[in-house]
C-alpha cells in the first residue's frame, strides 16, 4: 500500500499518526468524568489544541535542529510574529482565520529569511547566541518602540472600533474558519465518559497532520539527506564543492514558517497576542520538547511536545488535597514527609521537575524518549531470540 509518494512503511506510519490525532479526544479521556482519576484526563479542548500547536512548533524546529544540528535559541520570535499577524488580520478584515494564517506564514518566512541570512554565517555556539540576540531584540522592541503595532504590555487584541471590513451581518464574533467557529464543541456522553469534540482542535489537528506529512517528505527527500550530511560533517561537504548555506537557510526558513504557523494558530484559538510569547524561555521550551522527544526523529518532537504540555497541565494541578488522597494509606509521619517531598515537584514547582527531567535526558538519553523506547524494544527483542549478551547490553541502560 503506497500513497502520496511515501514508502509502504511510511504510509502505515502516517496512517497511524492520522488515526491517533483524530481519535485524540477519545484516547486522552480514559477515565470516567466522575472518577477520582479524571484529573489525569487530557481530553479537553484547550489542552488538545496546545498539543497540536506545540507539536507543529516542535516538528518545525526539528527540521532545523534535528537535521542540521544548528541549535537556534530564537524561534520564539517567529511564534510571536505569527500571533501578531493573525490578530492584525482580525482587526483589519474580520474573524476568519485564513487570511491571518497566510500572512503569519509569509511574515515569519520573511523574518526567518533575514535572521537566518545573518545568523547562518556562523555556526555552533555563535549561531545560538546570534539567534538569541535577534529574538531578544524582537522581544524588547515589541515591548517598547513597536507598541503601536504590538500594543505593548497589554497585548494585541480586537476592539469594537476596529475596521474588520470583511465582517458581515451574521459573521461569528470569534475566530472561525469559513463559519466553523473555533471554540464550539460537540459533546458526546457515553456511560460515565464525556468526550468533547472541539472544532478548534480538529482544525489545528488537520493542519498538524498536513505539516507532519510535509516534514515526513522533507526527511525522506534528497534535501533532507543533504541537511543530515551538514550535521554529520559540514567541512567535508564544503571540500567537495557544495555550498551548504542555501540548504541551511532553507531549513531555517521552513522551521521559521512552522513556528509562525504555530503562533498564528495560537491566536486562532484565542484572539490575543502578547510579547511574552517571544521571550527566550519560550525558545528554550521548544528546544526542551525536541530534545526530550528525540531530535532528528520523526515522532520525537510530537512526543516531546505532548509529554511536556500534558505534564505541565497535570503536575501544576496536583495540590495538597490530591496528595493527601494518594498517600492516605501510609502512617501519618511518612505521609506528611512524602507530601513535603512532593511539594518540590508538583503544583507551582513543576518547572523543577521539567528541568531535572531535561538534565537526565541530556545526560543519559541524548536520543530522547524515542531512543529510550528503541532501547527497551531492542532489549526485549534480543531476549526473545535467546542471546545471553542481551542481558549485559540491556543492563547499562536500565542502570542509568
Amino acid at each position: 500500500m503506497k500513497m502520496l509518494g511515501l514508502s509502504k512503511k511510511d504510509t502505515t506510519f502516517l496512517l497511524i499518526v492520522i488515526a491517533l490525532t483524530l481519535l485524540t479526544p477519545i484516547l486522552l479521556q480514559p477515565f470516567p468524568a466522575s472518577s477520582t482519576l479524571a484529573q489525569f484526563n487530557a481530553g479537553y479542548p484547550d489542552l488538545m489544541q496546545r498539543f497540536a500547536i506545540f507539536g507543529i512548533f516542535a516538528i518545525g524546529f526539528n527540521i532545523l535542529f534535528g537535521l542540521t544540528g544548528y541549535l537556534s535559541f530564537g524561534h520564539a520570535a517567529f511564534l510571536g510574529v505569527g500571533s501578531y499577524s493573525v490578530v492584525w488580520m482580525y482587526k483589519l478584515l474580520g474573524y476568519n482565520v485564513v487570511p491571518g494564517l497566510i500572512l503569519a506564514i509569509i511574515v515569519s518566512a520573511l523574518f526567518a529569511l533575514l535572521i537566518g541570512f545573518v545568523s547562518l554565517r556562523r555556526s555552533g555556539i555563535y549561531f545560538s547566541i546570534l539567534t538569541l540576540a535577534f529574538a531578544q531584540m524582537c522581544y524588547n522592541l515589541a515591548y517598547s518602540v513597536l507598541t503601536p503595532l504590538t500594543n505593548g504590555e497589554t497585548g494585541l487584541q480586537v476592539y469594537t472600533n476596529d475596521a474588520q471590513v470583511l465582517m458581515g451581518e451574521n459573521s461569528p464574533t470569534s475566530p472561525h474558519f469559513f463559519g466553523i467557529v473555533m471554540n464550539e464543541s460537540a459533546t458526546w456522553n457515553v456511560g460515565g465518559w464525556q468526550f468533547v469534540f472541539n472544532n478548534g482542535y480538529y482544525f489545528t489537528a488537520i493542519i498538524a497532520i498536513l505539516v507532519f506529512y510535509l516534514s515526513l517528505r522533507i526527511f525522506r527527500s534528497p534535501f533532507g539527506l543533504m541537511l543530515r550530511a551538514i550535521k554529520t560533517n559540514q567541512t567535508r561537504l564544503n571540500y567537495t564543492g557544495i555550498n551548504t548555506r542555501p540548504y541551511t537557510l532553507a531549513a531555517f526558513v521552513i522551521s521559521g514558517m512552522y513556528a509562525g504557523l504555530a503562533g498564528g494558530l495560537m491566536a486562532s484559538m484565542d484572539p490575543l497576542a502578547g510579547a511574552e510569547r517571544m521571550q527566550w524561555t519560550a525558545s528554550g521550551e521548544v528546544v526542551l520538547m525536541v530534545i526530550l522527544g528525540g531530535a532528528g526523529t520523526l515522532m520525537g518532537p510530537i512526543l516531546g511536545a505532548g509529554f511536556i504540555k500534558y505534564f505541565e497541565n497535570i503536575f501544576s494541578k496536583i495540590n495538597d488535597q490530591v496528595l493527601h488522597g494518594w498517600f492516605a494509606f501510609l502512617p501519618d509521619g511518612l505521609e506528611n514527609f512524602l507530601i513535603g517531598v512532593s511539594h518540590f515537584f508538583v503544583g507551582k514547582s513543576w518547572h523543577l521537575t521539567l528541568g531535572l527531567l531535561f538534565m537526565l535526558v541530556v545526560i543519559f538519553l541524548p536520543g530522547g524518549l524515542v531512543e529510550g523506547g528503541q532501547r527497551i524494544a531492542n532489549a526485549f527483542r534480543k531476549r526473545k531470540s535467546g542471546g545471553d549478551d542481551a542481558e549485559t547490553e540491556a543492563q547499562p541502560s536500565a542502570a542509568e
Binding site: V118, Y126, L132, F134, M137, S144, S349, L356
Partner: protein, 343 residues
C-alpha cells in the same frame, strides 16, 4: 558634558556586574572548554546568600519590655534579634545593617562548594560532549536552581538594603567643578564599582603573579603539553571553576542593594553576559572585562533621551546590535585569540 559623565557613571555599575559574570564565564570556557548556561544562576545564588544571611541575622524572639507599654497600658512585647542579645544592641544593629557586605564572607565558601559540586558532579562528564549538549544540560541545571530558589524564597523580589552609611548619593559633579547637584551618584554604586575593580584586579593578579596562576594560564594555552609535563591540570581547572563560581557569587551578593533579588535575575543577566563574552572574545579575560564595561556604558548612553528621540528603541537593542555586528565582522571578538572558536 555633565550629562555624558553621568551616563558613564551610570554604565559603570551595570558594566561591573556584566564584567564580573562574563569574567567567570570566559574563565570556565578558557580552562574547561565548557559553555556554562548556569552561570547566571550562580550570580543569583550569590544574591540569595545575602538574603539568607540577612534573614539569619534578623532572627528574633519576643521579649516583654518593662519600660514600654502599649496604648492599653499593658507591657509591650518587642521583637529582639538574637544577635542583639548575644553581642549587645549596638553590635547587633551594626551586624544587621552591614549584612550585605558581611555576606561576602559567607558567600565565598558557599560558592566554592557549589562550584566544586557542579564541576565534579556534572560538568566533568561534558568535557568531550558537543557544545550544544553543554548548553542544554547547563540550561536544565539553571532551571532547576532557579526553581529551587523560587520554592524557598518565593517569586517576589526581596528588598535587601545597603548599610545606612552608604544610603545617600554622592555629589560627584562638585568634585569636578560642576555646579552642585548636577551629577548625583549613589554611594553604593560607587562601592560596587570599586569592589568589582578589586575583584577583577585580584583575579588577574592571581593568574599573573602566582605559580598556580601561571600553570593555569599555560593550561589554557596548551592543555596537553602541561599535562605531559606531569601537572594535574584537571585539578587546577576544577579549582578555577570554583573561583569563577565565587566571583559570580560575590558579584550577586553586592548587587542586592541595587536590584532586589528575584529568582529569575540570573537568567536576565546570563543572556547579556553571554553577549558580553562573545563581544569580548571567547576565552579572553581582558576582553570580557573590557566588553562588560563597554556594553554597560553604551547601554546607559543609549537610554539618554536625546539619543532615544534620534533613534527610537535603541536603548532596548543596542547590546544585541553591537553583538551582531561584532560577530559578523570579527567573530573572534574584540580581544579573542585568532583561531579560538572562530568558525
Amino acid at each position: 558634558m555633565d550629562a555624558i559623565i553621568l551616563q558613564i557613571l551610570n554604565g559603570l555599575d551595570k558594566g561591573s556586574a556584566y564584567a564580573l559574570i562574563a569574567l567567570g564565564l570566559t574563565l570556565i570556557f578558557g580552562t574547561l572548554g565548557v559553555v556554562n548556561f548556569a552561570h547566571g544562576a550562580l550570580f543569583m545564588i550569590g544574591a540569595f546568600v545575602a538574603v539568607t544571611l540577612q534573614r539569619i541575622l534578623s532572627l528574633s524572639y519576643e521579649q516583654i519590655d518593662p519600660e514600654k507599654t502599649d496604648f492599653l497600658g499593658n507591657p509591650l512585647k518587642v521583637q529582639v534579634p538574637y544577635v542583639d542579645s548575644w553581642f549587645g544592641a549596638d553590635v547587633g544593629a551594626w551586624l544587621i545593617d552591614w549584612s550585605v557586605p558581611i555576606a561576602i564572607v559567607m558567600a565565598i565558601p558557599v560558592m566554592l562548594l557549589v562550584g566544586f559540586i557542579m564541576e565534579r558532579g556534572l560538568i566533568k562528564h561534558f568535557y568531550k560532549r558537543p557544545h550544544a549538549d553543554q548548553i542544554l544540560v547547563t540550561f536544565g541545571l539553571a532551571i532547576v536552581l532557579q526553581e529551587l530558589v523560587k520554592y524557598f524564597f518565593g517569586a517576589n523580589p526581596i528588598q535587601t538594603g545597603a548599610p545606612d552609611a552608604f544610603a545617600g548619593s554622592m555629589d560627584f559633579g562638585s568634585l569636578l567643578g560642576f555646579p552642585p547637584n548636577s551629577i548625583m551618584y549613589p554611594y553604593w554604586r560607587l562601592v560596587y564599582f570599586l569592589f568589582a575593580a578589586i575583584v577583577i584586579g585580584g583575579v588577574f593578579a592571581f593568574l599573573q603573579f602566582t605559580t598556580f596562576g601561571m600553570v593555569v594560564r599555560a593550561g589554557m594555552a596548551d592543555r596537553e603539553t602541561v599535562g605531559l609535563l606531569g601537572i594535574n591540570i584537571d585539578k587546577r581547572f576544577t579549582l578555577m571553576f570554583g573561583l569563577a563560581a565565587a566571583v559570580a557569587g560575590v558579584a550577586g551578593v553586592m548587587y542586592t542593594p541595587i536590584l532586589a533579588p528575584n529568582y529569575h535575575m540570573g537568567m536576565d543577566f546570563l543572556v547579556l553576559s553571554f553577549v558580553v563574552v562573545v563581544v569580548g572574545g571567547m576565552g579572553s579575560l581582558p576582553g570580557a572585562v573590557a566588553a562588560g564595561f563597554l556594553l554597560g556604558i553604551l547601554q546607559s548612553f543609549a537610554s539618554m533621551n536625546e539619543i532615544k528621540s534620534l533613534i527610537p528603541g535603541i536603548d532596548q537593542v543596542i547590546i544585541y546590535l553591537v553583538a551582531i555586528i561584532i560577530l559578523l565582522t570579527r567573530p573572534r571578538g574584540l580581544m579573542g585569540r585568532a583561531g579560538v572558536m572562530e568558525e
